[in-house]
């Protein structure tokens, strides 16, 4: 039966019905995010569907989004009455069928293929408790790997859009704004600007038309948190956008998504369509006077378009070059109108904050870093994947406990956060709690969430070169400090790694970095030198070892 138009009065009933809908209590969830598909998940899904059909079993084979355990793709989760739950990894079609037979039908888990031990799993319909107990707090990732991202009823069954309902019919725009301010939520794209403040500035700015934009241009290499949320829980982001649009008075929203994320684009487009069909998007949201429409716009392979003003230029159909600020987008943004741009992860936090209250959210985290953060753990560790932790959790807990420590014979040397704008953090600092401030003090940044783990075989000069090369490529070219600075810094790094540099060159690098930081037009140029500065700070000996010594200089005369 198709869903009715959702309104203030029927939402709770529809949600309860969705929860109670008789569906097979027993299910096997197959993760079909981009990387699981790459690992063969669709073959497994098809095979299981076929088996269940031909054998007439009362078990649902459900597609879900990313469960975050990327080190063990492809994954299935067995959730069947009368036996333990389990998450299985490293599967192929044959193993999946055996799991269906032995566990789902035979009620005996196949322990040898289970991840994390079956004993740790709670009975409830959640992934909390996976892995070492107490370390992950799955708030942004609350539905990822549990619900079918292509089915709005799954989202509704778990209380979806009740945040929007509360905002429109109980709180009103001002009080909704107050909740976000009270939460202390800060932008999760990397800059950490207080979201409530940004929303307030946009709300107060004069303008006949206002816009809200979801920044899905996740460009940091090694980061895929936003891709996962867009693919695995699109409605969480859509609801966040609608609440923001309501609070600020925006009648039009855009999802700006990288072209390199076609599945995320599909899922959001499908989500928008489904939401529109039940009256959550359109001229009368949930039957109220609030009108809002949403559209998807694609990026086209430019890292700089993750920067707010460049992103706006791109949505306008131009080259993605930044503009000087002030005026900030909240005053004059898209087509000169007040515009609020929020990161995907930031938006995924909004509905829970509105439902449970800003004060509840502010109770999570540490210091001025409230709430949680999703990290994409990659590199030389045992368990690469997506993890979500409360702010204030130590680096050690993330890398060693959740991440499993080094995957190679070499011990972990350092981590890198913040992508091309960030820095390295040596192992000796791993007891540092993760907050915006503590990472900045160490010479890095929180960044969007990419967390690269390096071992003893990773050379820091090469790491700096890797990021510098990226920045040279991605510099838009508009301002001289970045256009020339990045290139010159790259040439100096090459000079170092080719053994042609002298001590004076390291000083030149520092001066260049300083100039770029102070004079570049946007964050790309301002932070492009961070990897160089950070590796110089912590691993000067690796640079020194490559310098021309007086002996070699003399020999080459």
């Amino acid at each position: 039966m198709p869903l009715p138009t959702l309104t203030r009065d029927n939402l709770a009933t529809v949600e309860a019905e969705a929860r109670a809908t008789p569906r097979p209590k027993d299910c096997i969830r197959v993760c079909v995010s981009t990387c699981c598909l790459a690992a063969g998940a669709d073959r497994i899904h098809k095979r299981l569907v076929e088996e269940v059909r031909t054998r007439n079993l009362d078990i649902e084979i459900r597609k879900t989004g990313c469960a975050g355990m990327c080190h063990a793709e492809p994954l299935v989760q067995v959730d069947v009455a009368g036996t333990d739950r389990a998450v299985y990894g490293h599967l192929d079609e044959e193993k999946a069928v055996r799991i269906l037979d032995e566990h789902a039908v035979g009620k005996t888990p196949v322990r040898k293929w289970a991840i994390d031990g079956i004993e740790h799993l709670p009975a409830a319909d959640t992934l909390e408790g996976i892995g070492p107990a107490g370390h992950q707090y799955r708030l942004v990732l609350r539905h990822c790997g549990i619900i079918d991202p292509t089915n709005i009823e799954d989202y509704l069954a778990r209380g979806g859009y009740s945040g929007l309902r509360r905002a429109i019919f109980e709180l009103g725009p001002e009080a909704t704004l107050e909740e976000i301010k009270a939460s202390g939520l800060r932008g999760r794209g990397g800059a950490g600007f207080p979201t409530g403040t940004k929303w307030e500035l946009t709300r107060k700015a004069p303008g006949a038309q206002k816009y809200i934009i979801c920044n899905g241009d996740e460009g940091d290499p090694g980061a895929y948190m936003d891709r996962t949320v867009l693919e695995s829980d699109p409605h969480a982001v859509i609801e966040g956008m609608l609440i923001g649009a309501f609070a600020m008075g925006c009648s039009q929203g855009y999802f700006y998504i990288r072209a390199e994320y076609p599945l995320a684009v599909d899922r959001i487009e499908a989500g928008i369509k489904a939401a529109r069909r039940v009256g959550l998007i359109g001229k009368s949201v949930m039957g109220s006077e609030f009108a809002c429409d949403m559209e998807v716009r694609l990026g086209a392979g430019a890292f700089v378009c993750g920067e707010e003003t460049a992103l706006i230029a791109s949505v306008e159909g131009h080259r993605g070059t930044p503009s000087p600020r002030p005026p900030y987008p909240s005053q004059k943004g898209l087509w000169g109108m007040p515009t609020c741009i929020n990161n995907v992860e930031t938006l995924a936090n909004i509905a829970p904050i509105v439902t449970r209250g800003g004060a509840w959210y502010a109770g999570l985290g540490s210091g001025r870093s409230k709430g949680t953060k999703v990290f994409a753990l990659t590199g030389k560790l045992k368990n690469p994947g997506l993890v979500e932790i409360e702010m204030g959790t130590t680096i050690r807990a993330v890398v060693m406990d959740i991440g499993g420590g080094s995957a190679t014979a070499s011990p972990i040397k350092a981590i890198q956060t913040g992508g091309p704008s960030g820095g390295v953090i040596p192992a000796k600092f791993f007891d540092t709690p993760i907050t915006y401030e503590s990472l900045a003090e160490l010479g890095s940044i929180m960044g969007s969430g990419g967390l690269i783990v390096m071992d003893g075989t990773d050379n820091m000069v090469e790491v700096a070169k890797f990021f510098m090369d990226f920045s040279v490529d991605e510099s838009c070219g508009k301002c001289a400090p970045c256009r020339i600075g990045c290139k010159q810094l790259m040439l100096l790094l090459e000079k170092v790694s080719e053994g042609r540099a002298e001590p004076g060159d390291l000083d030149t690098m520092r001066q260049l970095a300083n100039a770029m930081r102070r004079a570049s037009l946007c964050g790309l140029g301002q932070t492009a030198a961070n990897p160089v500065l950070s590796t110089l700070r912590y691993y000067p000996e690796e640079y020194q070892a490559l310098l021309r010594t007086p002996a070699t200089a003399g020999a080459s005369q």
Binding site: A38, A39, S314, G317, R319
Partner: protein, 159 residues
């Protein structure tokens, strides 16, 4: 199916869809690239006429964004990810191996027009590093040893 094998697709639908929306040039160009495999000059000129946008404005955009191809690609596209995780886990060696086997460099097409090779930034499948995307299929944990077989498989396919 190879786009070049079909009669020249009609872009009037693309124009109609995106002319009504503000600032939708990039979306129109994406659709054109999906239709043709790249953005041919003749089509750009037609788009300029029909959307009433100066040709220079369209080329400003085409030459800025990495995603748009101005030359016809090869029959098969091999994209090797050189994002951070893939880089650390042998992405460079994988890319070098592809260059060697195909006899071409980055952003180049083989003389027989069979293969187009490019290095790309992070495709977001970091748990499977190193990653290559071959004809739209993501191939994870791809070692250097797997390259000849993967390329041979492409050649055998009838598209």
């Amino acid at each position: 199916m190879s786009p070049q094998a079909n009669p020249v697709p009609d872009i009037s639908k693309v124009v109609k869809k995106w002319s009504a929306k503000r600032g939708a040039l990039i979306m129109a160009l994406h659709e054109i690239q999906n239709l043709f495999g790249y953005v041919p000059r003749a089509v750009t000129l037609q788009l300029a006429r029909e959307m009433r946008v100066p040709v220079a404005r369209i080329y400003e955009v085409l030459t800025f964004y990495n995603y748009f191809k101005l030359e016809p690609p090869g029959k098969h596209t091999v994209s090797v990810c050189l994002g951070t995780a893939c880089y650390l886990k042998g992405g460079k060696e994988l890319f070098a191996s592809c260059c060697e086997h195909l006899g071409i460099g980055d952003d180049e097409t083989t003389p027989d027009k069979e293969f187009y090779l490019q290095s790309v930034r992070c495709v977001g499948a970091c748990g499977l590093a190193p990653v290559a995307i071959i004809d739209g299929r993501t191939c994870g944990k791809m070692g250097v040893a797997a390259v000849p077989e993967a390329l041979a498989k492409c050649r055998e396919e009838v598209r």
